[in-house]
């Protein structure tokens, strides 16, 4: 009895060690691929940076009126943005190559699935990042314009817009990743539709008189003041 147990344990340990021995070259290949591609990426970024600086790339971008690129870029430098993109793109290629090598050595056939899902994850991260940036931009726009229109609840509106965009983005991300797709679709539809309906009812029925009185008052005040003060 004890011998059988001993034998079974030995066999399992051998199997585990065998698996580890099988995986090790793959892990080594993955690390090596990452290091090599990181070095290649760094070198490419360095060369590209020198070329772009020699071309006065930042000044050219500004001259061409692509000012937005500077605003999106760290350190307000389009050159820096481009070299970073090149480095990380090379690094990602290294990651995929490493995973492929890992898969070949382990013979599990997971790489196709991982690579396929990784591309989805990357796309989801991009969507999430864009959503966060857009949410921040729109919420600031609404807040500033609301304040300049003398809306007392400008902050509330701004928060509403921000969360609306974030909820929309989250639904897109989860849908893209295929996580609880049915629930997300249904939940988002109910939430979004509910918010819009609530706003429509609030403005259309509840606050109709309030809004019209407020607008009339605003109009009267503006006309009276503009007769005396001329800003430009």
């Amino acid at each position: 009895m004890w011998e059988q147990v001993h034998q079974a344990l030995q066999q399992s340990i051998q199997r585990v060690l065998f698996k580890i021995a099988t995986l090790l070259p793959g892990v080594l290949a993955l690390v090596l691929a990452l290091l090599i591609f990181a070095a290649i990426g760094w070198l490419l970024a360095l060369i590209l940076r020198k070329i772009l600086l020699a071309m006065h790339f930042d000044a050219r971008m500004e001259k061409w009126g692509i000012a937005n690129l500077s605003e999106w870029s760290p350190a307000n430098s389009p050159t820096f943005l481009v070299t970073r993109i090149v480095f990380w793109a090379t690094f990602m290629v290294g990651l995929f190559v490493g995973i492929a090598a890992f898969d070949a050595s382990s013979a599990y056939g997971v790489s196709a699935y991982i690579v396929g899902y990784l591309s989805k994850i990357v796309a989801a991260i991009v969507v999430l990042f864009a959503g966060i940036v857009i949410a921040r931009f729109l919420s600031r726009s609404v807040l500033i314009n609301g304040v300049n229109m003398n809306l007392q609840h400008a902050r509330l509106l701004s928060l509403g817009v921000k969360w609306l965009v974030l909820v929309f983005t989250s639904a897109m991300v989860l849908d893209h990743l295929g996580i609880a797709r049915g629930i997300v679709d249904l939940g988002f539809g109910i939430l979004f539709g509910g918010i819009v309906l609530a706003l429509a009812l609030a403005v259309g029925l509840g606050s109709r008189d309030l809004v019209s009185r407020s607008l009339e008052r605003e109009n009267l005040k503006t006309t009276k003041e503009e007769d005396v003060v001329r800003h430009f």
Binding site: K63, N76, S141, V147, V228, H231
Partner: protein, 424 residues
């Protein structure tokens, strides 16, 4: 400004080849009544000035006509006149009037550079044209310093009411004065006279300018100072701004202060060396602005300012240092009667926004929107003081603000050179 401060230099007798015309640009098209009455006045003005070279009229046309043509419309006057035409660039004058003005002025300068003239007098553009200003006396006064005195740039000086042109009073004038050291009261004028020397500083092929260049305004006085050219001002009398309908205050701030901030970035090496300011020669007698000025109800402006303080602190904190934010917050606790924004604080706020414009701390579309409630706070403070002291004090109040801008310039220099040191 009751008497002539500086006498113009002796009249230049010889005119070089290629500079035989004095160009006068009028926004009225050929055949219009406005043009014929302008010619009449111009004829009277020319007789007052002993012109040593002929006048050449520039009028708007569908195509640029660079070869001078005899003008039949002027046959009833004794003034020998020829004309050329300039094109008015397709810009949305209703939405961006200052940009449209600049585009027209550049079109005129481009034509003048091609023809080769001695000086160019611009009597307004379509947007800014004011016929009432064009009395023969004022025309001759306005053209005199450039024709007889060898000034490279003649800028107008208007008598404005206390609550008119507040964007100029609060930002454009004091900022350009503190930066470049010249006291040109209306740095963005529709009427002006420029010498060929000054006009040559502007490229002739401006149609091929980059987008960045096309979005700019012409700060002629700034360019003249940078080039060490001679500037003067001429009193053109009382005037009320047109009040462009449909333009939001934040948009106007972006259209006027934005290009000035961009100009600051380009001329940083120059204005960092300038200390203090000096008067420029001024000709003509000042007139009192007609029409009684009412007192202004500041409650709504203060409400807008307080709303900004309650809601925009997070955005302001990206632009303003904590000390300034504290001072702004303190202001929101004042009652309308005692509301007062110190000039030094307002000057520092503008300097901070200029720096944020350069560093792009926040998106530029948001920057001027965030400045609007602060600007209304300054207007409220100005109005409270002018209401209390009387409108006669308004000019003194603007002068006091301009001095505060100059006094706070070291703050701008420090922040400009070492932005991280002060960064919130």
């Amino acid at each position: 400004m009751a008497e002539l401060e500086t006498q113009p230099e002796p009249k230049q007798k010889t005119i070089g080849a290629g500079q035989e015309y004095l160009l006068v640009a009028v926004p009225a098209p050929l055949g219009s009544e406005v043009l014929s009455s302008t010619i009449e006045k111009l004829s009277q003005a020319a007789s007052r000035l002993s012109l040593s070279c002929p006048l050449l009229l520039a009028v708007p046309g569908e195509e640029a006509l660079e070869e001078p043509v005899e003008m039949e419309a002027a046959s009833h006057t004794n003034l020998p006149l020829r004309y050329v035409t300039y094109t008015q660039p397709a810009t949305d004058a209703a939405a961006t009037p200052w940009l449209a003005n600049t585009a027209t002025q550049r079109s005129i300068f481009s034509l003048a550079n091609k023809i080769g003239i001695r000086s160019c007098t611009v009597l307004g553009t379509d947007v800014g044209f004011n016929r009432d200003l064009l009395t023969p006396e004022k025309l001759s006064l306005f053209m005199g310093p450039g024709v007889e005195g060898n000034f490279d740039l003649v800028m107008p000086l208007y008598s404005m009411q206390a609550f008119d042109d507040l964007l100029n009073k609060s930002i454009l004038y004091p900022l350009t004065r503190a930066l470049y050291g010249h006291r040109v009261r209306y740095p963005l004028a529709n009427e002006l006279q420029a010498s060929s020397k000054l006009m040559q500083k502007f490229p002739a092929n401006f149609e091929k300018d980059s987008v960045r260049q096309q979005g700019r305004l012409l700060w002629l006085a700034t360019t003249a100072v940078n080039q060490n050219l001679k500037i003067c001002q001429v009193q053109l009398g009382a005037r009320r701004p047109q009040g462009h309908e449909g333009i939001e205050l934040s948009d106007a701030l972006a259209q006027l202060a934005g290009p000035l901030f961009t100009d600051m970035e380009d001329n940083a090496a120059f204005w960092q060396r300038v200390r203090g300011s000096h008067d420029v020669p001024t000709f003509g007698n000042a007139e009192v602005a007609s029409g009684a000025t009412d007192t202004v109800d500041v409650r709504r402006m203060i409400e807008a300012f307080e709303l900004g303080v309650r809601n925009l602190r997070e955005i302001w904190s990206l632009v303003l240092p904590p000390v300034t934010l504290m001072e702004v917050k303190k202001l929101s606790r004042l009652t309308p009667d005692t509301f007062h924004m110190p000039d030094a604080l307002w000057a520092r706020i503008i300097y901070d926004f200029a720096l944020a414009h350069r560093l792009r701390n926040i998106h530029r579309a948001h920057l001027f929107g965030a400045l609007t409630p602060l600007y209304l706070g300054w207007v409220a403070s100005y109005a409270v003081e002018v209401n209390a002291a009387g409108i006669a004090m308004a000019e003194e109040r603007v002068e006091q603000l301009a001095r505060a801008y100059e006094a706070e310039k070291p703050y701008l220099l420090s922040r400009w050179r070492w932005p991280d040191r002060f960064h919130p």
